[in-house]
C-alpha cells in the first residue's frame, strides 16, 4: 500500500505501455477463460462413462454383399452362434449400434397413449437376451429378456415389443416421481404399450456430439434381432483373448460366408480403438485450445517481462536515486511488483467482463454452455500470478541497482 499513489501517478505518465499491457492481459484472460471452459467441457465429454464394460470388447462392422435385409436373419443367427463357440469368446451379439458408434436410432417415448408429445428422447438398441451380458450393462432392477421374448425384426418395419429394458436416466425422465419398473410406455408413435421389465444403470447413446447431451444416457433395449445387411457384431472376449479373437473371428466369419466385407478402416476394432477414434476431434480441439492458451500466456508473460525490463533500464538512474534516498532492495522490488499488480488488476477487471461477453456471444452463436464464473475467478488469479511471476526477474534486477547509480551521469 506504501507506494500505490506515486505509482499510479507515474503510470499516468506512461499511458501507452500501461494500456498495452493491461489490454493484453484482458484479452488473454477473456480467451483463456473461454478456451479452458471449452477444454474442460471436451474432457468431461471424453471422460463420460459409456455404461459398457469397455475392456475385452471387440466390434466387427459386417456388410453383407448381394443379400437383401430380409435374407440376413439366418446368416446373422449363424454368425452369432459360431462366434459364441469360438475359443476365447465369452459372448457375442448382433446389434444395430452401440455407445460411441457415431450413428444409431433415436426416437421419442410417451407415457400415455394419447400424449401428443414425447416425454423423453432416447436411442434404441436391438438385440437378443445376450445383449446386456455382452455389453457389460449392469441391471439394477427387474430382469433381462428371456429367449422366448426375442424375435427377428425387419429393419424397415420394427414393431413394438411387449417388453423393453430401459436405462435409469430414461426411467427418471419418464417417471421422475416413482419406479418405472412394470410400467407401460409407448416407444415412437405406436399405440401398443411396452412394459418395462428391467432397468440398467447406464448406457450411453451412440452419438458424442452436443445435440444428444441432454439425453446422453437415455436408452431403450428391445428384444429384436434386426435383419439388416449392415449389422454390428459385438464380441465380449475372455480376459487376455482380445487380440487372438480379433484375428480368429473375422477369419471364421469369412469361412462361414464370404459374401461380406469388413470396412478396411474400422471393420474390426476393439472398443478402445473406437473410443480413441470417436473422441479424436474432441481431443484435438482440447489440445489446440491448450496450445492457444499456452501461447497466449507466454506472449503476455513475455510482454510483461519486456516492458518491465525496458522500464527498469529506462529508470536505472531513478532507481539509484530512490536507493540513495533510503529505499531498500525490497522497496524497489515491491515497487515493480505493485506497479505490475495495478496494471494487472485493471487488465483482469476488463478481461473478466470480456470473458463473460465472449461467452455470451458463443452461447448465442454456437449454443455453447454458459461460462462458470469459477473459470473467470481462476483466470483472474492465474493472470495476476503470471504477471507477478513475469515481473519478478526484471524487478529483482531493478532491486540490485546500486545507490551509487544516483551519482552517475546518464
Amino acid at each position: 500500500m506504501l507506494h500505490i499513489k506515486p505509482i499510479l501517478v507515474a503510470l499516468k505518465r506512461h499511458k501507452a505501455g500501461t494500456i498495452l499491457i493491461a489490454m493484453q492481459i484482458a484479452l488473454t484472460l477473456a480467451i483463456v477463460c473461454n478456451a479452458l471452459f471449452i477444454i474442460d467441457q471436451r474432457l468431461d465429454r471424453i471422460a463420460r462413462p459409456t455404461g459398457l464394460d469397455e475392456s475385452n470388447l471387440v466390434i466387427i462392422r459386417n456388410r453383407w454383399v448381394g443379400v437383401t435385409d430380409e435374407a440376413t436373419g439366418p446368416l446373422i443367427h449363424g454368425d452369432v452362434q459360431a462366434l459364441r463357440q469360438l475359443p476365447g469368446v465369452q459372448d457375442a451379439i448382433s446389434i444395430n449400434s452401440y455407445p460411441l458408434a457415431g450413428g444409431g436410432w433415436s426416437t421419442g417415448v410417451r407415457v400415455n397413449v394419447d400424449d401428443k408429445k414425447s416425454k423423453a428422447h432416447t436411442t434404441l438398441y436391438f438385440s437378443d437376451e445376450h445383449m446386456l451380458p455382452t455389453m457389460g450393462a449392469r441391471l439394477i432392477a427387474g430382469r433381462n429378456f428371456t429367449p422366448d421374448e426375442v424375435t427377428d425384426a425387419k429393419a424397415n418395419a420394427v414393431d413394438t415389443p411387449a417388453v423393453i429394458i430401459i436405462t435409469k436416466a430414461l426411467a427418471h425422465d419418464l417417471f421422475p416421481d416413482g419406479s418405472a419398473l412394470g410400467k407401460s410406455v409407448y416407444v415412437s408413435d405406436t399405440k401398443k404399450p411396452s412394459t418395462i421389465v428391467g432397468i440398467v444403470e447406464r448406457m450411453q447413446v451412440p452419438w458424442n456430439s452436443s445435440w444428444a447431451d441432454a439425453w446422453a444416457e437415455n436408452a431403450v433395449f428391445q428384444p429384436y434381432v434386426l435383419m439388416y445387411s449392415g449389422n454390428v457384431l459385438l464380441i465380449r472376449t475372455k480376459p487376455g483373448q482380445q487380440d487372438a479373437v480379433m484375428k480368429s473371428a473375422p477369419e471364421m466369419l469369412f469361412k462361414l460366408n464370404r459374401m461380406r466385407v469388413f470396412p478396411k478402416e474400422n471393420g474390426v476394432r476393439t472398443f478402445a480403438n473406437q473410443r480413441e477414434s470417436i473422441y479424436k476431434r474432441d481431443r484435438g480441439m482440447a489440445i489446440l485450445m491448450g496450445v492457444v492458451c499456452l501461447v497466449l500466456l507466454g506472449i503476455t508473460a513475455a510482454g510483461i517481462v519486456g516492458l518491465t525490463s525496458f522500464w527498469v533500464g529506462q529508470r536505472r538512474k531513478q532507481i539509484g536515486v530512490r536507493r540513495a534516498l533510503g529505499a531498500t532492495k525490497r522497496d524497489i522490488l515491491s515497487y515493480f511488483l505493485t506497479e505490475n499488480l495495478l496494471i494487472g488488476t485493471v487488465g483482469v477487471l476488463i478481461g473478466a467482463l470480456m470473458a463473460i461477453g465472449m461467452n455470451l456471444w458463443l452461447v448465442t452463436q454456437f449454443e455453447m454452455a454458459r461460462l462458470s464464473l469459477a473459470y473467470v475467478a481462476i483466470g483472474v488469479v492465474a493472470l495476476l500470478l503470471l504477471g507477478q511471476g513475469a515481473v519478478l526477474a526484471p524487478a529483482m534486477r531493478a532491486s540490485r541497482v546500486q545507490p551509487v547509480e544516483a551519482t552517475r551521469s546518464v
Partner: protein, 240 residues
Amino acid sequence: MLKMTHLSKVYRTEVVETYALRDFNINVNEGEFVAVTGPSGSGKTTFLTIAGLLETFTGGQYHLDGVEVSNLNDNERSRIRNEKIGFIFQAFNLIPDLNVFDNVEVPLRYRGMKAPERKQRIMDALERVGLASRAKHYPAELSGGQQQRVAIARALAGSPRLLLADEPTGNLDTQMARGVMELLEEIHREGATIVMVTHDPELAARAQRNVHIIDGQVVDLAEDPRFHHAVHAARANSPA
C-alpha cells in the same frame, strides 16, 4: 559527525587495481560547512559516495554520527541514508514522473511516516526553499535553479544530520548558482552540517573549511598552489 580513518577504496579489474582513495583521513564536526575540493579524478566523488553510504569502501574505518558503518548490512545502510543523510546532486536527480510535492515526499515514504506528518514536512521544506507555490508542478516545468531548490527541499524534509552536496551548482548559471549557494549558507547558519564537493574555488571559499584531495589523499591546500591562490582570491573578494 563524520570521521574517516586510513580509509581506502580500490577498484579492481582482472588486470589492474586502481586506488580511488588511499590512506584517506577526514574529520567533520557537527555544524561544520566543509568544502571538499580537488582536480578531476582526484577522488572527491568517491569520497562523497562513501560518505553517503552509496558505496562501500575497501579498507580503514568510517564513523558516521558515532556509528562504524563498515559492518552494516544493505537495509541498515538504507535506513541511515534515509534518516541521517540528505543528498544534493549536481544533476538534481528529481523523478520526472512525480510532481514537486511527490518528489519531496519520496524519502519520507521510505521512512514509513504517516501522511499528515509527511505533508507538514514537505510544505515546510518547500516553504523553506521558496517553492511552496510550485508543489503541483513537474520538474520539467521548473528552471534548473528551481529544480535544485526542490532537491534541497527533498534533502531537508527528512531533517538529516548531514547534508552531502555534490557540485550543487555545477549545472546552474551564475545567478541561479548564487541563489542555491546562499540557500546552503542559510541552512548551515541554522545549524546543519554540510559537506560539499566542488572544483569551484569560489564556492570552496564560501565554506568554513576546505579539504583538498589529490590522488585519493587529503593534502594541504598549499600543495595545489593554483587552487590555493584561487580560493584566497575568492575569499578576499567575498562581501562577507
